[in-house]
Amino acid sequence: MSLRDVEVRARKTEAIIALAIILATSPIIIGFSLIILSSFSKSMVTNFDPSSFHLTLENWINLLQGKSAAVGGLKENILKYTLNTAVVALGVSLVVTLVGTMSGYAISRMNFRYRKHFLLLILLLHAFPGSVLIVGVYFIYRLMSPIAMGSITTFSFFYVIIARASLEIPMAVWLMKGFFDLIPWEVEWAALIDGASRLTVWRKVMLPLVKPGIAAILLFGFLAGWQDLIYVRTFLAEKTLATFIEYNLGTLEFAEMPLVAAAATLYLLPTIIFFITSQQLLLKVSLAGLKR
């Protein structure tokens, strides 16, 4: 542990600051807890009224069995939606990681002709998020989508993955550049002088050295794909957990809200698990923009 401050700080002021932090965080804690709590109750418990809480596992059983009364008795296959969400998230994660590690290496280690322009482009796109281009992106989707109805689902998965991944590419490239920048040059020189090609150096020498970076970018890509709502609802031919929640709240009168709360809790679960297991990695990822 590094030295942060002297030991003689007043305990009292520290307690006051800690209390202020807790107070400021309380809406987040209360909001999320109430949704999770509601998923174990017969009706929503969002109003501090203990009488509305009746412990039950019914929501979870109904949810996992797909016996949802949510939309007029329609069967909802929640496991399939979870699987769809996971497919999108994993796809985004892999695409982002592959592209990020390749281009990150190039701009960190190679001095090519248009390097400056490429970097400027990446930084500009990083600063100016591409989600606003969705009208054009949907237009391309329509132009490219196959006529045959059978293949449209597969195509929509493919498209939503690469389109969503592209949003994260500038960030990913910049993040990986930062990780490659930290590796000493001597390692690479040795391999290059021995006659290895850049591709071999990248694959066999560099990638093993940036494992923390790869883990960070895999996680970051996964969470980006997992949390997405807009791209999934716009392009995907099938439902995910996000669109399930969206449509069920749209029909509030018929929907069993605690069931939706259970779906939301299920949806939140991987995020929480990653939070507990890889805090430091998440903080590292969020710092990616800050490399000078």
Binding site: R4, I22, A127, G130, V135, W185
Partner: protein
């Protein structure tokens, strides 16, 4: 043929192409092409995504004229603009100040405690957007099931539930979208500032402590002056992202928690006009093109202010 390709790839001069090609292709398909197509669509009367019927017709600048005409005379578009300005201005202040306060506050408490709370503050940014929206849907719900309403009624501050998204126009709906997006943005500032503080030599803090400086004095006299670049970075970066993101408020408007009239920002408006209800892609594309131009200019200024040249130093000792 195969031999020649291999030869080409072996050539040192073009080796980099293999590495940047995947990124380049994705950037062309999903950034450059969409901008070009948006410009084209903005010159057509495209409606309801009926490509066959409308795509061949060019109407010149009519969509842009409509947009500016509506800006002057249509209260809906005018409200979109007022909302955008209020939303960006206030959320930006909350993001930067909130992030700064959190970073400073968590510095002065024990490390274990602060790392738990810093992680909690990442939740709004990392949680699935649909879940995050659901949380605030119930928190701000206009009836007595809303968490905020029931809390205020419990305290006796209000007699009957307030419909936050509709009642106090325009500040009710504005407060909700500002609050919901503000929480997402605070974590960005907090992380950047926390890292900046951890890079400041601690001898400065200790010397100040020995001289009897308080937390407040250490913050304002040491930390903040040394973080000027970071504050600028967070402010400009956050400005651009607030201008273009709409995912976190989309469902709040869609679900009717906040009034559409005062809960729609410019970028959300583009999405709504293009994809929900009676769609009009020509108009949406025109509004989008203007936003891209504004954003592009702001982005370029941002990079100039932050010292772009400093961020892209050449790789050392390339062979």
């Amino acid at each position: 043929m195969k031999y020649k390709l291999k030869d080409f790839l072996r050539n040192k001069k073009y080796e980099y192409l293999i590495f940047i090609l995947p990124a380049l292709i994705l950037i062309i398909i999903f950034y450059i092409l969409p901008v070009a197509l948006s410009v084209y669509i903005s010159f057509t009367p495209l409606k309801n995504w009926n490509l066959d019927k409308y795509l061949g017709t060019i109407v010149g600048f009519r969509n842009y004229e409509r947009f500016f005409h509506m800006l002057q005379y249509d209260p809906i578009i005018r409200n979109v603009f007022l909302t955008t300005i209020a939303f960006i201005g206030i959320t930006l202040v909350i993001n930067v100040l909130g992030g700064l306060l959190l970073a400073l506050a968590t510095y002065f408490v024990s490390q274990k405690f602060s790392s738990v709370f810093r992680t909690l503050w990442l939740l709004p940014r990392m949680a699935p957007i649909a879940v995050y929206s659901l949380v605030w849907y119930y928190f701000f719900h206009g009836s007595d099931i809303g968490t905020l309403n029931s809390f205020l009624m419990y305290l006796g501050l209000i007699k009957k539930p307030i419909s936050w998204g509709y009642d106090i126009i325009p500040w009710g709906p504005w407060s909700i979208i500002i609050f919901v997006n503000g929480l997402v943005g605070v974590s960005f500032g907090m992380i950047i500032f926390t890292s900046a503080i951890s890079n400041i030599p601690k001898e400065l803090v200790i010397a100040a402590r020995v001289d009897g400086a308080s937390n407040w004095q250490i913050s304002t006299k040491i930390f903040i002056p040394l973080m000027k670049w970071h504050i600028l970075y967070v402010t400009t970066w956050q400005l651009l992202s607030l201008l273009t993101t709409y995912a976190h408020i989309f469902l709040l408007v869609q679900w009717g928690l906040v009034s559409k009239q005062y809960g729609t920002t410019w970028s959300l408006y583009i999405y709504q006009v293009a994809f929900t209800g009676r769609t009009d892609q020509g108009l949406a594309a025109a509004a989008g093109v203007i936003l891209v131009i504004v954003g592009g200019i702001l982005g370029y200024i941002t990079l100039r202010i932050l010292g772009f040249e400093r961020m892209i130093t050449k790789p050392r000792g390339d062979i």
